[in-house]
């Protein structure tokens, strides 16, 4: 509790210093929007008749954009995981696929997925498909590599013990090799999630699209309109979503691994 209060005080001072600097340093509000300006972007400013005027939270801009973005994220991430895990299992199983697909994965994983934007625009136009493509490209390679690595790390004795009890073929894969590689698959999925989130933000900032305005687009328009309070506010939203997703999606898995396997994940 004491530690929590100390941390809280730290952030309050940080916020106060920021507000003070914005007001008294003489810097333009374009270069340094104040916390209150960011607050006004979210929640509007008081109007003469006692209500509020504007506010991205109240007028539905923010909620709508978040919904659009989350839809894209879950679709892209889902496809990335859906392709990545089975493909990683195949590259672990077949030497040829490891040498070919595995090498491609290793190479493309180092390529920031925003580099796919020019090609994606040419191939798919300004469409949801282009957006999806970029997110999948950002996710799938890390997931393939983590799954492949996870399965190769399995102590051979698990396979041997299972085979002496009559497990083979598909049963061996589903009931032994898949769960045995779970710690690696979870950390791969987590990494894939982080990449998917970054990829989507890049895609939304770079691809102008008519089929739905996401958070990245709002941020982009904030820049175009010199509305830096909006830009900074959205940066906060992006942080909070990333943080919450990590807690909601991966904490249960990590708790399970900790309880059942006795593993402590960082």
């Amino acid at each position: 509790m004491k530690q929590f209060l100390a941390a809280l005080a730290f952030f309050a001072v940080l916020l106060g210093a920021w507000e003070f600097a914005a007001r008294h340093s003489g810097a333009s509000s374009l270069l340094l929007p104040s916390p209150t300006a960011v607050w006004r972007y979210f929640f509007g400013s008081p109007s003469p008749d006692g209500g509020t005027v504007g506010g991205a939270v109240w007028d539905g801009t923010l909620g709508g954009a978040t919904l659009v973005t989350m839809k894209r994220l879950f679709l892209g991430y889902g496809v990335g995981i859906g392709i990545g895990i089975p493909l990683g299992m195949l590259t672990a199983r077949f030497k040829f696929l490891h040498n070919t697909v595995g090498t491609i994965a290793l190479g493309l994983q180092t390529l920031p997925s925003v580099c796919w934007v020019p090609l994606a625009l040419l191939w798919f136009g300004q469409t949801e498909t282009a957006m999806l493509f970029i997110v999948v490209m950002g996710t799938v390679w890390a997931v393939i590599l983590a799954t492949d690595h996870g399965i190769r790390q399995i102590p051979p004795i698990y396979r041997e013990a299972a085979s002496t009890m009559g497990s083979k073929g598909l049963h061996l894969w589903l009931k032994v090799l898949a769960p045995a590689s779970l710690p690696h698959i979870v950390s791969g999925a987590k990494q894939g999630w982080a990449f998917a989130w970054r990829s989507l933000m890049a895609a939304e900032i770079y691809i102008t699209i008519l089929s739905g305005m996401g958070i990245g687009h709002l941020l982009h328009y904030g820049r175009e309109l010199h509305a830096m309070d909006q830009v900074v506010g959205l940066m906060f939203v992006i942080i909070v979503i990333g943080f919450l997703a990590d807690k909601i999606l991966f904490s249960p898995w990590e708790r399970f691994l900790h309880r059942r396997w006795g593993l402590t994940n960082s």
């Binding site: 085979s163 002496t164 009890m165 059942r260 006795g262």
Partner: protein
Amino acid sequence: MSLASELAVPPPSKIRLAGVSKKFTTNRGTVQALEDINLEIGEGEFVCFVGPSGCGKSTLLRIVAALERNFTGTAEVNGKMITEPGRDRTVMFQEHALFPWLDVLGNVLFGLKLKPDLSKKDRLEVARYYLQLVGLDGFERANIHELSGGMKQRVALARALAPNPRLLLMDEPFAALDAMTREQLYGDLQKIHAARKKTILFVTHNVREAVCLGDRVILFSPRPGRIRKKFRIELPRPREFNDVAMASLAAEITGELKTILAPAQ
């Protein structure tokens, strides 16, 4: 398959090994792990393989388990050539090899779930029976990492027994345990052998352990792995690890083992 037949004692296996040889090729050359092994093991016999490390005793056990392929010679269980691993011959390893993603009960159920004719209720009953047999009732829902080394090996024993194999293969299963736990397990294993009548192959480097458990002790010599001598242990059961008669027999075998090791030193 009914529950009654599942819990019934099946006829134990007999094993015939004739002219079994096995080479390992590593990048440093070829090692003759086993050379011309001839051995017959009768139904329900408890046979211990003893020898210095590198004598191929574990390799021979792995050949019977079909975890090791590419050997020459004949290896038969119940008159049939050994081709692939099967639940008629379960294995217990030196490391417990329990699955950490399953709890104790889940581990014991693993092999039972591969028997499609058993109902879910029957499987549970069988699993509980074996957990009780190894003295672990009440630990069904425990996670593997929460157990002590001795308890882990007890779960591994229950898991190996649960599919009701006719042959139990044990590869230095107690080597990593402390002396107290080991002595308890010697008693328990003899009781289980008496109750379930399985043929047991037991690999160890501990002569006293072999004499305490085995109907026969097979002494191996290394490089190339060969059978040096076979001993029949005629002591009454149950045997006590600290028994005097046993100690003198163990001393005799240890003497023989020392003559094997002497030239190397």
